[in-house]
Chain length 337, copies 2
């Protein structure tokens, strides 16, 4: 069994737990809307990290379950709002909550998730530390999402504030800060949460945080590469979605801009900045990016984070769980979906 | 000084506390967007209730402040999303967050509020009970908002699910359930939170809950009456906003429908059900409602809740604070804004 299958099997244990918290104080009539998001599936990597990190520092899997459920609920909470913000219609081949029930119901369902998260955390060991971790993490994710929107090069004509404040230049530092907030922060919290419910030492908690942050950075970098170069049947969505969404916050786009000669650089930017990006536009953008070394350089960048992740794990005792975490870090950058 | 001025003075003490939690882990660039909502003012009645209820059961005002801040943050959190859902442009004469910064930024700011709420609760006495109370309460508010939307008689053409599920008949029981969830639940939580931080007895907590729920019911009933019959310069908004928004979930509308003869009843419903309600439509609807005893009957209904609220207070020792709570209950139904 490969690392992803192993982790997904662990992660799926939170499904009934998530459902229990979502169903608490939920009217029958609203249940379909609320449960839609968690029923669209997902690899359940984040809760698997919580459970595996808990075990890797000597904790009990049972203690990790409500925390792991809270973490996966946060991920799904962010996806519901992400889809509202980006007008997303399909995810993993299924209609998004907003597509199935409209923006208003999706928003209300999303807000309900946040309360299920609070209830799950309340049932954990060290609940106050977890509440604090989760509040800080969600604030990070919100700020990351805000930056990601501001890094878009066109669109959102109905939002004058966004149009006025968008960033026409995005540095590699800006990008790394954005993905640290948007993606790595929650993956890091997944790992730290596993440590907290196992009463891990401060040194172990630091190691889990460093591991999770680095894995998260590598994960997002791989996601960006797949968006531009992935096989559509493997990634389950249209290639170049980031280009259609005018996103400068994609590492291969950014790295290719560094390399392209003035004129071609201008051409790529003008595609990103056109009000509506055609299929030919997407193809041409991918061609321009592919003419540079951006893909390989993005991989090297991701591999650097993987090395850091594996090094951080040295602070933990050797075990099958630690080995699984190492394997995951290496898988994350090689993955094809 | 009248009861409202007294309570507002108490309630305003949470302003710096709210700001502190909102500013935690907040980027400078996002601060204006996030702080906009709490800076639009408001009477601060809910946090005043938390503080006064805490004192009324022998607690210390200082212990009540973070809980009171959390309660007022919840109110503002709900207003941000309310305005997104109802496309609200002005509130208390100032632009709403979505009007000033667009729906996307308003949504992200709203989500940030929820984390400030969690952080404030974490700093309270009895934090776990408060986290639970708040999660249950916000789930209630969401369900109340969902019902309020489904009680609309037209509009939301872009949301097929809402259109398909709207309630063309709303009974008085449906209405009372909706306002209990949408409005009374949070006012009740404001009172119970004050009790929890003061280590109130189970009997006192029950009394505070009953008081808060009853005051909340009376408050919403008065709000509905003011929407139809208030003086615009006093209520600070257009009269008949509920009619423009096709709301059957307004007590005077509902009570008038019980009384109106078949034909006039049909006329009022057809105004509520027209895609766009004209100014003449609003005037005619108000005229139809005014031709019934709905206004007086709504007042009696509200006064019944006020009596229940005052009776509930008998479980608390006599004090200036208890007297203030009594005065508030009586004020709520008589208020003109």
């Amino acid at each position: 069994m490969d690392v992803l299958a192993k982790l997904s099997e662990v992660g799926r244990k939170v499904d009934p737990v998530m459902e229990r918290y979502l169903r608490r104080n939920l009217s029958d009539e609203f249940a379909d809307v609320v449960l839609h998001q968690v029923k669209t599936g997902g690899k359940r990597i984040r809760p698997a990290l919580t459970i595996t990190c808990c075990r890797a520092v000597g904790g009990d899997e049972g203690d990790a379950l409500p925390a792991a459920a809270a973490i996966e609920l946060i991920h799904n909470y962010s996806l519901i709002f992400d889809d509202i913000i980006d007008h997303g219609e399909f995810r993993r081949g299924r209609p998004t909550v907003r597509k199935a029930y409209g923006d208003v119901m999706a928003m209300l369902a999303g807000l309900h998730y946040r309360e299920a998260i609070a209830e799950a955390i309340n049932d954990c060991r060290n609940p106050l530390k977890l509440h604090e971790l989760i509040a800080r993490t969600i604030k990070d994710v919100i700020e990351g999402e805000r930056l990601d929107v501001l890094f878009e090069q066109a669109g959102r004509a109905g939002e004058p504030y966004v149009v006025r404040h968008r960033r026409l230049e995005v540095s590699m530092d800006d990008y790394l800060r954005m993905i640290r907030l948007k993606t790595a922060s929650l993956i890091s919290a997944a790992c730290v949460a596993g440590g907290l419910v196992a009463d891990a030492s401060p040194e172990q908690l630091r190691a889990l945080e460093e591991y999770g942050t680095s894995v998260g950075m590598a994960f997002q970098i791989a996601d960006d590469i797949l968006d531009i170069f992935g096989e559509e049947r493997e990634i389950g969505k249209k290639r170049g979605k980031d280009i259609v969404e005018h996103k400068l916050g994609n590492v291969v786009v950014l790295l290719s801009l560094e390399e392209l000669a003035e004129e071609l650089r201008g051409e790529l930017l003008s595609i990103l900045r056109s009000e509506s990006v055609s299929e030919e536009g997407v193809e041409r953008a991918i061609e321009l990016i592919a003419s540079t070394k951006a893909r390989e350089r993005a991989y090297s960048l991701g591999e650097g984070y993987v090395r850091r992740a594996v090094e951080a794990l040295r602070a933990l005792p050797e075990s099958d769980d630690r080995r699984l975490l190492e394997e995951l870090a290496e898988f994350v950058i090689r993955r094809r979906f």
